[in-house]
Symmetry: C2
Subunit: 263 residues, 2 copies
Amino acid sequence: MNLQILSPVELRRAIRAGELKGNTSGLAQGFVQCNLAILPADWANDFLKFCQLNPKPCPLVGISAQPGDIAIAELGEDLDIRSDVPKYRIFKDGEFVEEVQDVTQHWRDDLVIFALGCSFSFEEALLADGLDVRNISEGVNVPMYRTNIECKPAGRFSGTNVVSMRPMKPADAIRAIQICSRFPSVHGAPIHFGDPAAIGIEDIHSPDFGDAVTINEGEVPVFWACGVTPQVVLEQAKPSFCITHSPGHMLISDLPNSRLAVL
Amino acid sequence: MNLQILSPVELRRAIRAGELKGNTSGLAQGFVQCNLAILPADWANDFLKFCQLNPKPCPLVGISAQPGDIAIAELGEDLDIRSDVPKYRIFKDGEFVEEVQDVTQHWRDDLVIFALGCSFSFEEALLADGLDVRNISEGVNVPMYRTNIECKPAGRFSGTNVVSMRPMKPADAIRAIQICSRFPSVHGAPIHFGDPAAIGIEDIHSPDFGDAVTINEGEVPVFWACGVTPQVVLEQAKPSFCITHSPGHMLISDLPNSRLAVL
């Protein structure tokens, strides 16, 4: 099976059939992939408020219309959120319980689906412009760091931003800021560059998540709000029940990346 | 005379009448002010090419339709370029000859007018967004530096970029990049930030033109291509004759700044 030529709906069906179990990086080029958070209805309103107050780490791309819905119509044809993501993580009272390839057995009629934008979309735009995206050129996961930048709290949800980092020369960073500004629903423009300590990062060579990447002479670290932020916030809020995607194993949508561009 | 309430055409008439001889900083809020270069027709084609190849330091806002014209229709009503700028500098064979308040006596029927965008427009947009523009808050001329960033040569014109510098915290610099990207015809986005040595600046506290400004803890210098670049290039090319505005003494146009926004 040549995964590269499959459309988003074909990829989701392959995932549903258990034929595709790996991470989704590099698949469905040109289409939006989403971070996933699934919460009981009694936690959903607070989380929705949290996303609206913190659009850079939590850019909402879609939300299910009614509790219990297994699809978000605008995100894809023939979508079954219970089986169309390669790997899920299940949490109870904030504790990680298990990683599974299908959550049909765990589904409840009070669950609300939140789909959040992911950096794959803006990385594609940076590459298309000829910029080097270090985690891609080095074939590793992007380095991510906890920071001291507080999110705006909403109900039971609060915490600090997690950021992803890509090193660039200043002129490339300026271009990256321009490119990413067009895509507010996939984290938008960077939120910091330069001195890591200014946002509470002690050691740039020891990321809290993902892998370290090379920072060359003349480059500065550039920091984007990261989709891991809501996962960290969810762990702290300890909702009674929660399903997320497993890192890198995203929901592939039918939305073209270009559809997210505001300009 | 309350200069603050005068319209662009009223200000030009006051300048023409000799009632206003100072610099134009802060006047005609909301309207484009221009750097000026006036050259004989046999030098004009090379300079036009130079501007087109180097739009960041030399953003063309207007050019006279025919040699000898004393106006650029799209820049202003009742405009006489020979008298409507408060102070001019005259060069012969690249040598500065004199500073005058009127060039009517020096006018020739082979002269071509080039009006280039100026940083006043983007500084106004930065201030409107609540950002601190240090040279304005400290009431001094913006610091400017020669760099090692080569312009693209065109005919007899070549040289390196001059940059202006405004220190900012990284998050403000990111916002400034977004704001200035909307205004390519007033120098557009910055071309560098951070390490001055990377672009050939030896001492950030000793600008080559203008005044030094305070750089606070946590701020980085942010560098924009500067309208002094064409003046330096003109000095090197040594055209037989040339008229420029005197620094800070700009041509006030009828164009609203917002008209220059590409987005």
